[in-house]
């Protein structure tokens, strides 16, 4: 009998506990929620560092950093956006896991007067209306640059393989498209193989997919992978086959393992984005809007191609080893 009131107490207590947090908003802090696709990749650490740095530049800004535990868990990201809407933040910076699934929660936020800046991956809808602004790498251009870097190293032509990343991911889909269009348009001597195989969410799934592809396609001249985990999985598979260095291999993004591969000559190029800049400009754009300024609806954060030749240039070094630990405190 005594315990029957317990669920009631809990259900009463929960909104009170949540209410406690919104009460805190009465101080003059402006809260900006930054929601990445995941929190474990180094890429997102750099985005976080950029966001934190932008927050530190004004006295009255608090950055709330929180992402879904799994990089492919759309439902969890939707729930996260919704909970920030109901909790009430001043603005949101979001890297949507899915170009469509996140449109509903974003329009919910915009309807409640919470401006949303989209970073990294696109969202269906019109920037400036359905969301505030789109701050990202021009991913299609990234694919184009990868194709040129790969193709120019293969004057004889040959068979070139594309390992895709994951179904429904807009940013990598754009890179794949940019790569395919450019190879087909500019390098007629290259025989493009696109078996529509996907690497999947983790490095281990990418490794398996790559191993299986390499046992089917044994006469490759080149390979392209559109993100960090697929590039890493392919690098391991090429190494175990003794093909690393012999096949011209271009990947996307940087991490310790990939930079090592570039140094050893196992990777011939890495298309680099500027994640720190993305986090920085994402938060800054939101702040400028809150200050009543007009903001651009599309902000390009740029791409560079790193190769063994230029990897020691200071500019490239900064992209290969973004110094996020200085900002986040290790």
């Amino acid at each position: 009998m005594k315990f029957r009131a317990l669920p009631l107490l809990i259900s009463l207590g929960l909104p009170l506990a949540c209410g406690g947090e919104t009460e805190g908003a009465a101080d003059n802090l402006r809260r900006i929620a930054v929601i990445p696709k995941g929190t474990t990749h180094e890429f997102w650490k750099a985005v976080q560092a950029g966001a934190v740095r932008a927050g530190q530049e004004s006295q009255d800004v608090e950055i709330l950093w929180r992402g879904p535990e799994r990089e492919d868990d759309r439902a969890q990201q939707v729930a996260l956006v919704e909970s920030y809407v109901s909790r009430g933040v001043d603005a949101m910076v979001l890297a949507p896991l899915d170009q469509r699934a996140l449109t509903q929660p974003v329009s919910l936020a915009m309807g409640r007067n919470i401006p949303v800046v989209i970073i990294d991956s696109g969202l269906d809808g019109e920037a400036g209306k359905d969301f505030l602004s789109y701050v990202a790498t021009d991913n299609f251009e990234g694919g184009v640059r990868a194709a040129r870097h790969l193709g120019q190293g293969l004057p004889e032509g040959g068979k070139v393989l594309l390992l895709r990343y994951a179904e429904g991911s807009e940013s990598t889909g754009q890179r794949e498209q940019g790569f395919l269009d450019t190879i087909r348009g500019e390098f007629p001597s290259i025989d493009l193989v696109d078996p529509k195989r996907y690497a999947g969410a983790t490095r281990a799934t990418a490794q398996e997919a790559a191993e299986n592809l390499l046992s089917v396609h044994t006469d490759l001249a080149g390979v392209f992978c559109p993100n960090e985990s697929s590039t890493y999985g392919m690098l391991l598979a090429l190494r175990s086959r003794g093909l690393a260095g012999k096949v011209r291999f271009v990947g996307f993004d940087a991490s310790e393992g990939l930079v090592e591969g570039l140094k050893q000559g196992h990777l011939h190029g890495l298309v680099l984005q500027n994640p720190m800049q993305m986090g920085y400009l994402g938060v800054q754009t939101a702040l400028r809007h809150l200050n009543g300024e007009r903001v651009e609806t599309r902000i390009d954060t740029g791409v560079r191609v790193a190769s063994q030749g230029n990897m020691n240039d200071p500019e490239i070094q900064e992209l290969l080893h973004p110094d996020f630990e200085a900002v986040l405190g290790g």
Partner: protein, 325 residues
């Protein structure tokens, strides 16, 4: 006499019949797509992590339990191993640390199930999140890059000409898995622990009435499975050459599927190590063939799903016939 030996041989090889059947189907579909030694090497290495973890799961499922936390425990023990190597521990100690981590995960599961009397599904659903979170915490949420100290050669499908393992044909990790399969099959069939595992899974109440110490046996089963999970974890590290806290998400379903395809029953009392091995190999085989046939990833998912359904359906149909006759 000969007949009896024949039927024993048949029941030993039975788990592989389904595998042969599937291989036959792929051969008939298009015999021009070859299935060579290179494929066998690749597939067998891809089976190692799932397979070794699935041996432990076989014990658990036979005892009527389940372990949903196995993927997270693999990630945790692979992170622990990587951190130990980073801290300059000698390799054997780092491997031991991984295996012990797995065993502790198993111990925790076992204690939750027996002391709190939780259904294994619930207890391990809880630890699935706990172990994953712990792996992220101790790794600072980023993959731990550490030197594999030559361990990567254990799970390399194509050893270099000058590798000491070149003569082995299959990678050392594969031989380790096969050795463990034999060892675990012997434990399951011929030791007290194995017989008690079957007894608990067949009828827990009867087992208890017969004076069997059910809780302590269960804890032993989960610890044994944990040891294997820890070993799978360090091999996962060897394969990726980094301890990734987000690795093996959803792997528990592959592990459970391997046991079920191999004839394990989720109601307990039934299952075999060789069957599990065949099940684990079958899934890697299907992934490999779908790539070789140039089929997109979604066909592979549709096919693997139905292989699980078909395997269990055939098994139940045979059980009904057997109980009727």
């Amino acid at each position: 006499m000969i007949r009896r030996a024949g039927s024993q041989l048949f029941s030993l090889l039975e788990p592989f019949l389904g595998l042969l059947l599937v291989m036959g189907v792929f051969y008939l579909l298009d015999s021009s797509i070859r299935f060579g030694m290179a494929d066998v090497r690749t597939i067998s290495v891809q089976t190692v992590v799932t397979g070794i973890a699935a041996f432990g799961m076989t014990f658990i499922i036979i005892s009527g339990g389940i372990d949903l936390s196995v993927g997270s425990a693999i990630a945790l023990s692979s992170v622990v191993g990587a951190l130990m190597i980073q801290a300059d521990w000698p390799l054997p100690l780092a491997i031991l640390a991984s295996v012990v981590t797995g065993a502790l995960c198993g111990l925790y599961n076992g204690l939750l199930i027996t002391l709190l009397r939780l259904p294994p599904f619930i207890a391990t659903l809880g630890t699935l999140g706990f172990f994953r979170g712990l792996a992220k915490k101790i790794s600072g949420s980023t993959p731990v890059n550490a030197d594999t100290l030559g361990m990567e050669a254990w799970v390399n499908p194509f050893p270099a000409e000058d590798s000491p393992f070149h003569w082995m044909v299959l990678a050392p990790g594969v031989w380790l898995m096969l050795l463990l399969a034999v060892l675990m099959a012997v434990i399951l069939r011929f030791t007290v622990l194995g017989r008690h595992t079957f007894a608990i899974g067949s009828n827990e109440a009867t087992a208890r009435l017969c004076g069997l110490k059910v809780p302590s046996t269960k804890v032993k089963i989960y610890v044994l499975a944990g040891l294997l999970t820890g070993l799978a974890g360090i091999l996962q590290f060897a394969r990726l050459s980094q301890g990734d806290p987000t690795i093996a998400i959803g792997l528990e379903l592959d592990v459970i599927a391997a046991v079920v395809i191999g004839g394990g029953s989720l109601t307990g009392g039934k299952g075999s190590i060789l069957g599990t091995l065949a099940g684990a190999f079958m899934m890697a085989y299907l992934r490999n063939r779908c790539t070789a046939f140039g089929w997109p990833t979604y066909y592979q998912e549709m096919i693997v799903g139905h292989i699980i359904i078909l395997a269990v359906a055939v098994d139940q149909w045979r059980n009904r016939r057997w109980s009727r006759s």
